[in-house]
């Protein structure tokens, strides 16, 4: 008897992407301001969206060749496994089990985050350790749901979980007073606080109870595509280190004598060819979304309503831990 198996998603993602003419990118369905949210014209923008645009720019030299698939926490990995999306950039925490058991692979960390708590100012709480007995809103199936249980256990505190599948539902329940506190990644807290009825009445507590390295992920089994996504992010970080910006990239391309800059911008060596892209792939990325620092400040930093400090996400040379292997 002959039994054939229908192949799942095919391995050569780059060829597929080129054939269809766009990158299908999975982003946060809840519209996490600063990370991924559509404006009134349906144009997506944000820090995670910039990863999608950077990959599109690397492949097509055109950051608009992206289609976005909004995903809930529950849907995200299945969408990637099944081939519905080519790339997941949805503030997802890189953990060992996700990296090894889901058939996906994280390609880097675009935001070093940690889990925090937000509470109403009127409760007079100044530390998460004062939250014993509190009702806490959380999104289901996230690393935050697990950290929450572990942290309260470790600190001998009680809590009442109020768990929602969708982030919007959790936001609304917290806003209506159903919960005393809200927990998710600290970056998310700042973003969600902006959407509450009275943002000033809520305070983000100082404790960070976990490591949440957020980054893009792709399917396992397609090394070339994983390399493209990985190095698109590295190119952004390298560009910041080398002082290459959206504004000066063309000028540096014409005039720079720095060999590192020349390699980054495709004037020296054939780094683009080695991952199946044009020589100026990295220059296209920087032209499209700017370097890492520019993208950060524009979307979540001082140039945005979130005003998040660089902190851990500053370059290694400036006290942070963002560090990219060199292009050579």
């Amino acid at each position: 008897m002959i039994v054939t198996s229908v192949a799942g998603a095919s391995a050569a993602t780059l060829d597929d992407v080129k054939a269809k003419g766009f990158v299908q990118c999975g982003v946060n369905a809840a519209g996490l301001q600063g990370f991924a949210s559509p404006d009134d014209k349906g144009e997506w923008s944000g820090f995670d969206v910039d990863i999608c645009r950077a990959v599109a720019a690397a492949v097509f030299a055109d950051p608009t060749k992206v289609k976005f698939t909004p995903l809930t926490a529950k849907e995200r990995f299945t969408a990637l496994q099944s081939g519905e999306i080519d790339l997941l950039a949805r503030n997802s925490t890189w953990t060992m089990s996700r990296d090894t058991q889901l058939g996906i692979v994280f390609t880097g960390v675009n935001y070093y985050d940690g889990q925090g708590f937000m509470a109403k100012k009127s409760l007079g709480v100044s530390s998460a350790k004062e939250l014993s007995g509190a009702s806490i809103c959380v999104q289901s199936g996230t690393t935050t749901e697990l950290n929450l249980a572990d942290w309260f256990r470790a600190n001998n505190l009680q809590f009442n979980p109020v768990v929602f599948e969708k982030q919007e539902e959790a936001d609304a329940a917290y806003d209506s007073g159903r919960c005393d506190a809200y927990t998710t990644d600290a970056s998310g807290l700042y973003s969600i606080r902006l959407k509450l009825a009275n943002p000033d009445e809520h305070v983000v507590l100082p404790e960070i109870i976990s490591k949440e390295p957020l980054g893009p992920a792709v399917r396992q089994g397609d090394d070339q595509w994983a390399l493209i996504v990985k190095w698109a992010l590295f190119a952004m970080v390298n560009a910041e280190e080398l002082g290459v910006t959206q504004a000066n990239v063309d000028e540096l391309k014409a005039s720079s004598a720095n060999p590192e800059v020349k390699r980054l911008l495709g004037l020296d060596g054939d780094f683009g060819k080695s991952i199946g892209l044009a020589p100026e792939w990295a220059a296209n990325v920087i032209k499209a979304v700017g370097n890492y620092g520019e993208s950060f400040e524009r979307n979540v930093g001082q140039g945005s309503p979130l005003k998040i400090a660089r902190g851990l996400n500053d370059l290694w040379s400036k006290g942070g831990i963002q560090y990219a292997p060199p292009i050579r």
Binding site: G103, G141, R153, V163, E165, E169, D180
Partner: protein, 401 residues
């Protein structure tokens, strides 16, 4: 051939000149059925095999071993002991129990409310019947998910915080953390009271049997219902008093953010139960109305002619016949309610879908296995409900003479 030796078939059998088995309709029928069953089995096997091969090829872990691993997340409503160190299998049981609790309570309340509204709609009282009609047409025609969200948001936005909660009698409190009532705690000799209650029920049943027998023999009617109820209440109360009142109440206390102690009916649970009950009751009301209207007016007239009063006519003549018509569609409504309880996920109630097909699925990534188990559970619950209702239907069905 061998077939020619068998007894002649009562059906006209067409045989070819060769008389081969190939042309025998009975044999052919059996062969085709076997082939179809084989093809179905093969198809099922192919799907399973294909899934396993592809999951393996995509490097996705598969198998059911995750049920024994630590769950690590907490659940808001725990009918039995559960801690974050328990397994995903335990979390599954909690989710299943939560689903069964809300479905069972929903079925009971929806049936009571549905019968009241269905009979009210047939009432000669104009206002009553119109109110019932408006109820049915409103709640039947708005999607359940929207109703659930409405109840949840409505309940939440109206209720105050726990510190400003509405203080109700007996130390109860209603706030946006839910309805908190004192928890009864059974003392040492409380089982004596339970035994007394059981004895009361047995005695009431005995009175009922005796009253039936006496009515059959003499035609005299004895109010067995009220007397039986009185016996149960009196016996239980006497036992309760005799053992010195072994039931104490644990009153909820406001400590820190929330109430400690007492029984909590959370807003998520109340919204889901309210939504399911009100929605399904509208359908049950129509089923009941249809059942009663299906009994011809002549039945009532005949009963009145025999001197039965309207209430007794309804109870002894109309309803037993109407049940034949009511039960099969009522079963469908029960099944719908149970399945609709999976919308719990929208209002944050930790049912099977929210807990197992939500948190566990996401944490373990075993989407195929988790969804398969979840679907099987709903199928089994539904089949058991349907089997029970079919049995009940055969009990109440009219015995045709």
């Amino acid at each position: 051939m061998t077939l020619r030796d068998t007894a002649p078939s009562p059906l006209p059998v067409r045989r070819s000149s060769g008389g081969s088995m190939l042309y025998d309709p009975t044999i052919r029928g059996i062969v085709f059925q076997i082939l179809i069953v084989l093809a179905l089995v093969l198809f099922g096997w192919w799907i399973v095999h294909n899934t396993i091969v592809n999951l393996r090829a995509a490097n996705i872990a598969s198998g059911f071993d995750f049920l024994q691993t630590r769950a690590g997340y907490d659940i808001a409503q725990k009918p039995i002991e559960y801690s974050i160190d328990d397994t995903h299998g335990d979390a599954f049981v909690i989710g299943l129990l939560n689903t069964l609790i809300v479905a069972a309570l929903g079925i009971v309340f929806a049936t009571i409310l549905g019968f009241i509204i269905g009979i009210a709609r047939l009432s000669p009282n104009w206002l009553l019947s119109k109110v019932a009609a408006v109820y049915v047409e409103t709640f039947r025609n708005i999607p359940l998910l929207l109703q659930l969200l409405f109840w949840y948001k409505a309940v939440l936005s109206v209720l105050p915080g726990p510190r400003q909660g509405l203080v109700l009698p007996l130390g109860s409190n209603l706030s946006n953390r839910g309805l908190i009532i004192p928890r009864p705690i059974a003392g040492e000799s409380f089982d004596v009271v339970l035994w007394a209650l059981l004895a009361g029920i047995v005695a009431a049943y005995g009175i009922h049997r005796w009253a039936r027998a006496r009515q059959m023999a003499t035609g005299q009617i004895f109010p067995s219902g009220i007397v039986g109820l009185a016996v149960i209440v009196v016996v239980t109360l006497v036992a309760y008093a005799a053992t010195g009142g072994p039931l104490t109440l644990e009153y909820p206390e406001l400590k820190g953010f929330n109430f400690v102690g007492g029984l909590v009916l959370k807003p998520e649970f109340m919204a889901l139960l309210l939504g399911l009950t009100i929605y399904t009751a509208a359908f049950i009301a129509e089923v009941v109305r249809a059942g009663i209207l299906a009994i011809s007016w002549g039945q009532s007239e005949a009963a009145y002619a025999l001197g039965l009063r309207p209430g007794r006519t309804m109870r002894l003549v109309i309803v037993p016949q109407a049940m034949r018509v009511i039960i099969p569609p009522l079963t469908s409504q029960y099944l719908n309610l149970t399945k609709n309880s999976s919308l719990a996920v929208a209002v944050g109630y930790p049912d099977l879908v929210a807990v197992f097909a939500g948190s566990t699925l996401n944490i373990t990534g075993r989407a195929v296995e988790v969804i398969f188990i979840t679907m099987s559970v709903y199928l089994i619950i539904s089949l058991i409900t349907a089997a029970f209702m079919n049995w009940f239907n055969s009990r109440v069905a009219l015995i045709e003479r």
